[in-house]
Assembly symmetry: C2
Homo-oligomer: 355 residues x 2
């Protein structure tokens, strides 16, 4: 289960390699650069990842699969998530070429490669695997409200909206916890997280009745660790996705929640729905969690990407002052102190479990 | 869309015809007795529906499909929802027999008859339809937060738990509104409701990201009526299904909510989760609805099935006194006054829309 899904990978991001246009490709070169041998984008060929997305070091950007093959890849990873989730024709051509070259294909698209008769037959012929990361496992159960009984401490990232850094916050918190000597496990619920971690369930493809059960299954699968850090989805304020968020809360039964927000965002993206003041957001999340089990927001992960580091630092400090809980930018200011706070709660919980 | 799905139907409830054991069969004979020609249950053959489930009048209960055929049915409706949602072997035999006799089959099972190669081929051969009520439509959209913009007043039934009468309350309220001269439309979200109304979407089969969109689609489809009464599902307190409930709230954007509760129930059925005091339940539902649009709980539909009518009446009166909103048992005490309260709010809303 913890075996890497992504290894010696060529990441396909043709025409779209960039922080805003290829979230999956960017997260792969940022977090697992040692598993990426090259990125394909002919419009940026000759550069290295660091030039294009500010991370990933010397990973080369190449113009074609043919060029990428000299780095001896084992797989091709589709590094974009286009609107609608389909496989663009120009991408399909590269996928076909890669299968013929003996590469496994890893895809996080809504479009299921395994349901494509032509690709499936070709993959069989060349003895390669088509991995549809978004395909949920069969026979997920209805949530049984059992996560709180497990011998593992549970932290869930929650947010004011989509795309405010819930995956990044969960990943960075896990990393900081591990650095501090805790056996922490990142539990992914979206395609990028699943590719990074090599396991997980993409809950946006799960039938509504089973989303809480999927979250519970993730926590159960991580139960040999000390702390599970579950990647949240959506927001309780999101008119389209609020149900998914609530299912993850009740399925995870988190001991703690880490609230994620993008600085300056006042409304749900693409909707007119206002985001309440953060103090109110904290109360609302705690109230909804308490329907099944009490939970507390331990701090705020504030995505300050548009600000210079000094301004980001002072905004985090001001927000911390106003809310009375720790606030940090996970990428610029780090998650170390947040991890310490989590560990302190974990230790209390552990000793209460013993008694 | 409003064409009856169920007509001249034989309802199959072999071995299980009863209020507690065949919810679908019971609701069909209670609410659309004129569309049911017979019920099959060999263990109760010779009786009439009224003897067995207290409603449905003289609808005969027969021992076999063969006997039922003399009432010249057009279709066989599967009147049970067994745990797991499969098609029991003894039911399958009757379904095969019915297809051979030229009857259409209507099923609300999780098991999709159309995906069963043998049944699908047989149906084609005999030129009959297999209607899988639970199959959601393809290409449901993500909720767009547009229901509140429609020229229709929206009422959603919500509950303290599953099986507390949300379908019945929505159906009875629609009936009372229509009796009062309002063009009200029942919008079903579960299999029994879909069978009764001849349309709807079973949201428990919808992929999580699209449940709010499904609710919005239902309201849009009803938008030529004056009031949409949407059947709710689950409960915000249900550890397994809370996400579905929240999606329905934000997808419907209800002007009013009607809270359903079973008298005496203190915990979520089959879970240890407590149900808060009703006053708190009202607050919680109103708070969650307000994340996207303000809404108010207009009253309580109190399911008092285990009590004698006199006790039911006084319990409703006491609860009404305590909460300060109208409380009624929908089946014993009726929904007339609730309908009047809804109409009064509808009239205010309509005049505010004009101005």
């Amino acid at each position: 289960m913890q075996e890497p899904l992504v290894e010696r990978a060529v990441v396909l991001a043709e025409g779209r390699f960039g922080v805003a246009t290829s979230k999956t490709a960017t997260c792969l070169v940022r977090y697992v650069p040692e598993r990426v041998v090259a990125v394909i984008d002919s419009t940026k060929a000759g550069q290295v990842a660091e030039d294009v997305v500010g991370c990933g070091g010397a990973i080369p950007v190449v113009a074609s699969l043919k060029e990428a093959l000299r780095f001896e890849p084992k797989m091709l990873v589709i590094g974009i998530a286009p609107i609608g989730g389909g496989l663009p024709p120009e991408y399909r051509t590269v996928v076909v070429e890669a299968i013929r070259a003996g590469l496994h294909i890893v895809s996080g698209l809504h479009y299921m490669l395994n349901d494509d008769d032509e690709l499936a037959a070709l993959a069989k012929e060349h003895n390669v695997r088509l991995v549809d990361v978004r395909r949920p496992p069969d026979n997920l159960p209805v949530g049984q409200d059992e996560a709180w009984l497990l011998p593992i401490f549970r932290v869930l990232t929650v947010g004011t909206d989509c795309s405010v850094g819930k995956m990044v916050a969960a990943w960075e918190l896990t990393r900081a916890l591990r650095k501090a000597g805790i056996n922490a496990r990142f539990c992914p619920t979206g395609q990028t997280g699943c590719m990074l971690a090599g396991w997980g369930i993409c809950v946006d493809r799960v039938i509504s009745d089973f989303v809480a059960g999927a979250a519970e299954a993730l926590v159960k699968a991580a139960a040999d660790a000390e702390i599970a850090v579950v990647e949240g989805q959506g927001s309780i304020y999101h008119p389209g996705y609020s149900g998914v968020t609530v299912s993850l809360i009740h399925g995870t039964a988190p001991n703690l929640m880490l609230l994620c927000h993008q600085w300056g965002r006042t409304h749900i993206k693409a909707y007119t729905t206002p985001i309440p003041p953060l103090r109110r957001v904290v109360e609302d999340y705690q109230r909804i969690a308490s329907f099944t089990h009490p939970s507390r927001v331990i701090g705020v992960s504030l995505h300050c990407a548009d600000l210079d580091p000094q301004t980001a630092r002072s905004i985090c400090a001001e927000t911390e002052q106003a809310l009375g809980i720790h606030v940090t930018d996970p990428v610029r200011l780090g998650m170390e102190h947040m991890a310490d706070l989590v560990i302190s709660e974990f230790v209390k919980w552990k000793s209460s479990q013993r008694s």
